[in-house]
Symmetry: C2
Subunit: 151 residues, 2 copies
DNA sequence: ATACTACTTAAAGTGAACTTTAAGTCAATA
DNA sequence: TATTGACTTAAAGTTCACTTTAAGTAGTAT
């Protein structure tokens, strides 16, 4: 079973031009062509492409993915280097997730804030609520947002 | 207590040129200047800047942040619109987090894979492991990566 | 054989978010 | 008063990851 660039793009949920761009950047060392010059993707390329997608999802840059692929081509001698890349990715993604979770807390507070303001018809009322008038889970977040003791 | 752009930038952990850029883009409707034309940031601006930072952290674009700020300036009549913005942000961030968690699983699998390859001195050995030779938490992830029944 | 769609390339264009540059001004210190 | 460092602007430059364009070729269906 083989696929054209358009079929593979559809499977991966990306544009065909994106796959051409990746190929040009050297991300597809396995790339084969038909006699007429058309790219031929094989089933076995799919897992590889999903790994590239995964690395991209972690925020890795194209040039760094290329670097990783060059290590793959070097074979077993680059196992250590490849392990380090994934260990670094792991730390990176964990950091990204915790940063997003922090932002999410603020966003949830703002949702509560504007829901309350909507019911009251004004934001001034929420601004003047005492700590004990807030839902328990909102107190800490508001305190964090208001903290100005860094000044 | 007032601050120059450099001091405020340091507090927020961004470049001063970034704050000038944000100002130029209309993100600082509160901006005041000294007689000599130098930007004067006040303590009360800090919480606002942190909200902008939060919105940026959720992946919101500058022009959409500007749009939000214009709603803030409209006062209480825009409460509904602002609530909708944060509700949408909430969904967005939750989606981003779950995508990162999915990528993290793959990265963790690759860490295990290369740790095992490192010990064995070759990747071929890991490739040929039977399902029951894998740590329990790795089985599902490998199955997901290998799945080709989409073809 | 013809039409049609999807493929090919190199090169230029896009958009987002800054960053840098150049020329100059402000404000504090020696 | 002179120097220094941080501020000011407009405009140009940078980086990243694509996307689009234009001109042409491949492969398939009628």
């Amino acid at each position: 079973m083989v696929f054209t660039i358009g079929e593979m793009a559809k499977k991966l949920g990306v544009a065909a031009s994106t796959l051409r761009y990746y190929d040009k950047e050297g991300l597809f060392p396995f790339m084969e062509r038909s006699e007429g010059g058309i790219r031929v993707f094989k089933e076995s390329n799919y897992e590889f492409l999903k790994i590239i997608n995964c690395l991209k999802a972690t925020g890795m840059q194209i040039k760094d993915i290329k670097n990783f692929i060059e290590l793959v081509l070097q074979g077993d001698e680059s196992i250590d280097a490849r392990l380090e890349i994934f260990q670094k990715r792991k730390l990176e993604v964990e950091k990204q997730i915790s940063e997003l979770q922090e932002a999410l807390e603020t966003v949830k507070f703002k949702c509560w804030y504007y829901e309350t303001a909507k019911r009251a018809g004004s934001t001034a009322i929420c601004d003047n609520l005492r700590d004990d008038e807030l839902p328990e889970d909102m107190r800490r977040i508001r305190a964090k947002l208001r903290r100005e003791d860094t000044f």
